[in-house]
């Protein structure tokens, strides 16, 4: 064999890999570093001239001294604690419901899939009108039962809950798909065996379904948390972080600081913090997925 042949052999996989690899480095990895770098820079627009000053950690110092930042961290925390358990338990419940035998199960499953294909901005716009305090369908409907109209998105107390409803409507069917796939992977012989042993349905769930579904649930838990952590479409379209900052999550605060107030140092400091937290969440994901892959080998 000629050396030329070996050289070509060596380089072939890298050539196949190059376009996707370059794109990943350029558009996924590099922006993280831009974000970090720019978070050390203060930009001012004195007299229409853009001036950039390297200020080290000053942006972060201002950020940590700002009650608005802590408020928005708090809202992010509350949202995370509320929305993820709600979505995961509903997804699991729905997946279990849809495992039941029925003549119509195919069409029922298909109908439940509808929100998967409806983009979040669409869901947001439609639900925004559904929850309209004056002409919304929800207030019209609950009026049938004598319940007075609710303010929903324009109320400090209900806005975050309304956003949870919107994101959950969109999210449950999506995460349910992963749990349904996990459920269908469980060998049916296990249930036959436990039937012979006289197990009750709850025991089946507790000792067969749950342990074997653990990995799917963990995957959904981590992926759902990462997704909701950057949830801001409803805030951009409907609430603008209000009323009274009640829906101003961190990711929206980053967006607003940059695009409304041109305070890029602040915006990118928050972005960098968000990326850092996301990476921690991904660390968990790596851990669980690693476990999953070992299992399969």
């Amino acid at each position: 064999m000629s050396t030329n042949f070996f050289r070509r052999q060596w380089i072939v996989p890298y050539l196949f890999l190059a376009p996707a690899l370059i794109a990943t480095v350029a558009f996924k990895l590099y922006p993280i570093f831009i974000g970090l770098w720019e978070s050390f820079i203060y930009t001012s627009f004195g007299g229409g001239v853009e001036k950039r000053v390297f200020v080290w950690l000053e942006n972060y110092q201002y950020l940590f001294a700002d009650p608005l930042f802590w408020q928005s961290l708090k809202i992010t925390g509350i949202l995370t604690i509320l929305i993820n358990p709600i979505q995961i338990s509903l997804s699991l419940g729905l997946a279990l419901l849809l495992m039941r035998k029925s003549k119509y199960i195919r069409i029922i499953r298909s109908l439940f899939l509808l929100p998967v294909g409806v983009a979040l901005p669409i869901a947001t716009v439609v639900w925004g009108l559904m929850l309209d305090p004056y002409q919304g369908l929800v207030n019209g409907f609950i009026g049938l039962f004598g319940i007075p109209p609710q303010p929903f998105l324009v109320s400090e107390d209900q806005a975050l809950w309304s956003i949870i409803v919107i994101a959950t409507w969109k999210g449950v069917a999506f995460w349910m798909l992963f749990l349904l796939a996990g459920l269908e992977d469980i060998p049916k012989q296990l249930y036959e065996a436990s039937k012979i042993d006289g197990a009750k349905p709850f025991q089946n769930f507790r000792f067969i379904t749950l342990p074997l579904l653990k990995r799917s649930i963990l995957f959904v838990l981590v992926a759902d948390t990462a997704t909701n952590f950057v949830l801001m479409v409803p805030m951009i379209i409907l609430t603008k972080g209000g009323p009274m900052q009640s829906t101003n999550v961190l990711v929206y605060e980053a967006y607003r600081s940059g695009f409304y107030y041109q305070d890029w140092g602040r915006s990118l400091s928050i972005t960098t913090l968000l990326t850092l937290i996301s990476l921690i969440i991904i660390g968990f994901q790596l851990f669980f997925l690693g476990e999953k892959r070992d299992e399969k080998k």
Partner: protein, 280 residues
């Protein structure tokens, strides 16, 4: 279905009751949007308060649709179609090549690179959208179609799908082709790609839906109206023309129905591609 035989001891009517409630919550918002998109606003408001079931019966007026196309919706649809098709073609090409590299070759750093590429897509795109926006300004792609398409091409899920599929192709087939003097690119292009129709369908559908549904990135990366994508225009309608409900519903209906049609036709492939589990 595998679990057909499991007896859940609650009566069937309780199951149907819960399913029915769930279906109502799932379907009614979109159905209401669809029905109202064929009505005038006065009718929509009158039927909702006080509530009448007429609000869930579709109207017959096409004016709302005429209205949105007067406001630039057609342009946004064409833009989205163009950007989506370009993303599907480009994305299928570069991700299948990467999948081929990971499936066919053992090379230095292969595991690390594979892990890196898969995990970098776990970083939520919305978290890096703002620095990516800064980067687009630096390289002069801001407010161009490049910005809408190229950063979205590489995708860890799609690489993973192709790798899994290519691993399943018998090695003998490729070795024989190698002996016959076919280049590696020839093997990829003439043997592997023609065999991978199912994964191309699923992966292409995913790429199409991702792009069709993208919102935050097109909103900040290409703000001029002539480059608006469909979700951006929809959001604009809901703020700029807030009182004109029927047109918001019409825009939502078109924007929603388009991917739904594809998803329902190829439901099996779509779900397989998304969850990575073969559908029975």
């Amino acid at each position: 279905m595998l679990l057909r035989h499991i007896k859940i001891n609650w009566p069937i009517y309780a199951w149907y009751f819960v399913i029915l409630i769930g279906l109502m919550i799932t379907v009614i918002p979109f159905w209401w949007a669809l029905s109202s998109s064929f009505k005038d606003n006065v009718t929509i408001f009158a039927e909702v308060s006080p509530f009448s079931f007429k609000s869930l019966i579709p109207g017959t007026s096409l004016d709302p649709y005429y209205g949105i196309f007067m406001k630039g919706f057609g342009r946004a649809m064409l833009n989205t179609l163009f950007v989506s098709v370009a993303s599907v073609l480009g994305g299928l090409l570069i991700n299948s090549m990467a999948g081929f590299a990971f499936a066919q070759f053992r090379f230095k750093g292969d595991n690390i690179l594979f892990g890196f590429m898969i995990l970098s897509f776990a970083v939520p795109a919305d978290a890096i959208a703002i620095p990516l926006f800064k980067m687009m300004r630096q390289i002069g792609w801001f407010d161009t179609y490049y910005a809408l398409i190229i950063p979205m091409l590489a995708n860890g899920i799609i690489i993973f799908l192709f790798r899994q599929f290519f691993i399943g192709i018998p090695k003998e087939l490729m070795e024989a082709a190698r002996v016959d003097g076919l280049s590696w690119f020839g093997i990829y292009w003439k043997i592997c790609i023609p065999l991978s129709k199912p994964v191309i369908l699923g992966a292409g559908l995913l790429l199409f839906v991702f792009q069709w549904e993208s919102f935050l990135w097109p909103l900040i990366a290409a703000p001029s109206p002539d480059k608006h994508l469909i979700q951006v225009v929809l959001a604009r309608f809901s703020t700029e023309y807030a009182p004109i409900w029927n047109q918001q519903f019409a825009a939502s209906t078109i924007a929603g129905l388009f991917p739904l049609i594809f998803i329902y036709i190829f439901q099996k492939q779509f779900v397989s591609a998304l969850t990575g589990v073969e559908q029975k």
